[in-house]
Symmetry: C2
Subunit: 182 residues, 2 copies
């Protein structure tokens, strides 16, 4: 839908990084006036809900520099432009958790910060996961700890804000709504 | 929690805007190596779940430049640094929807994109909303349309990804889990 479309009249690229690009667009508003929009371009990400044989959800705790603290999330990874999200997801799951999945089932997608960023996250359900004997090493600069919790405990974490990450909280409640998490 | 803390050894400020700032930090990792982190600084935001007398959720549709399309969300607004989130929330609700709330009840908070941004969103429930005769004008560059839906329809929108915004989807499912939305 293009309702209230804002037409770009000028784009100023401010920064091109490894994770994000930043540009400032000048736009023509529906009333003919002009305004500026600060836009973060992000390749999008994949996040994985993986359930163990013991019916526990696999979570990871890692330090998030923007927050200056470590938080609990479902395993996730940034897409490479043009890469199949399933390949990203299978790899990130292995690297971050040491679990190998037989396949990934697409569940849903959503935008995380539509006011200033185009990041789209795809949620997948990992089917038939097994612990790998020799998981691939993760990114050199990534340190994670695995936490496995049942649905009731996960929901308690959500309620107490021990999990306070939009994709993780939403994925847990969404998969319960769909009858997939029990 | 500071597990796996990454200590900042250098900060390069790239951009200071009206909505976001961008900086690149050099960090010392837990293993003593160094890496770079691209960080978006955002003041945070408030989002409001407002329920009408007819038990409908008040949603707004607006054009989101980062996505180049209009999407459906709960009313929300960026915090001003130092501003009380409740004041932001009451004002944004009035400006975007023309509804006045008797009070806002804090529900939960979460990070939207912890991998690259510090944005924290606070969800409030608006109590006893009434249509204003003369609502305050919104931001000059903001154009919104109001949509009111019941819980069943909202959940169908979530499932069909007609609503595809993390804060909105999560807020709807969270408030249902808490027995507040029925």
């Amino acid at each position: 839908m293009k309702k209230f479309e804002e037409k770009t009249t000028e784009t100023e690229v401010i920064f091109e990084g490894k994770i994000v690009n930043l540009q400032v667009d000048t736009v023509e508003l529906p009333n003919g006036k002009h305004s500026k929009r600060e836009l973060i371009k992000h390749p999008g990400a994949v996040a994985i809900v993986a359930i163990t044989e013991e019916n526990k959800i696999v979570l990871v705790e890692q330090f998030r520099k923007p927050l200056e603290k470590s938080i609990i999330e479902i395993p996730a990874g940034k897409l490479e432009y043009g890469e199949d999200p399933v390949d990203t997801g299978l790899r990130e799951l292995q690297e971050e958790t040491g679990y190998e999945a037989e396949r990934l089932i697409p569940i849903t997608s959503f935008y995380t910060s539509p006011g200033f960023a185009d990041e789209l996250i795809h949620i997948y359900l990992a089917e038939n996961i097994t612990k790998m004997e020799n998981p691939p090493p993760g990114d050199e600069d990534e340190f994670v700890e695995i936490i496995e919790v049942g649905l009731a405990e996960a929901k308690a974490f959500v309620e107490e804000q021990r999990i306070c990450d939009a994709k993780t909280n939403y994925a847990i409640l969404y998969l319960e709504m769909m009858g997939i998490l029990k």
